[in-house]
Symmetry: C2
Subunit: 104 residues, 2 copies
Amino acid sequence: MKSYRHPALRSVTLPVVMQALSDPWRLKIVRLMLEAGDRAFTCSDVPMDVGKATRSHHFQVLREAGLIRMRPVGNTCQTTLRREEFEKRFPGLLAMVAAYKGRR
Amino acid sequence: MKSYRHPALRSVTLPVVMQALSDPWRLKIVRLMLEAGDRAFTCSDVPMDVGKATRSHHFQVLREAGLIRMRPVGNTCQTTLRREEFEKRFPGLLAMVAAYKGRR
DNA sequence: GTCGATGTTCGATTTTCTTCGAACTTTCTC
DNA sequence: GAGAAAGTTCGAAGAAAATCGAACATCGAC
């Protein structure tokens, strides 16, 4: 596995985060991880109806938006939310995402 | 002036809101209005380095994301945030946007 | 009524996303 | 080592978004 580049949260801008969360698949990933507490996921743990190239791309976008941390473990990528750091930079954002209940 | 269509907040989804706020100009508009309390703006009140067609487009996107309310007054459009409604649907989002301090 | 200002709409262009398949690398298992 | 599994990378194709200029409509002022 490759090792991943993670941006410092200070350098992440709000438009970039908003862009990352504007895609339904990526929003789903983040919400799944929010629900799952601090459990780590691999890319293929997240059910998505797209090819693996696309899946890889979405994880990359989330990573570059400072939302997730990816660590190579064996031939998988262990992925977790960057909760505390992210919360410091964008207070309340994750809570809002977690509270969101879809179309009403 | 035309009269505008405003979506019910119930029908607005989070990805649509995120998409609306992922553009720097639109984020600027919203932040300007957040700072300005309940004062109404016209489109040309907001300094933006784009043509008026583009400006009109950005206001439309914000309107369709449920963020702003536009009312024709004379030959201008009086624009205000849909604060309370929006806050009910996406609690904490506007506060987070208001608190955002740019790149650090 | 004519003019200037404010916006909107339309069509076209450019840029940015999303998605895919194919080829590749790394790692685990047999 | 051979084969399978998990991801990544690399184009390429298609869809969506941003931007503009030009034409248009509406309103206020003169």
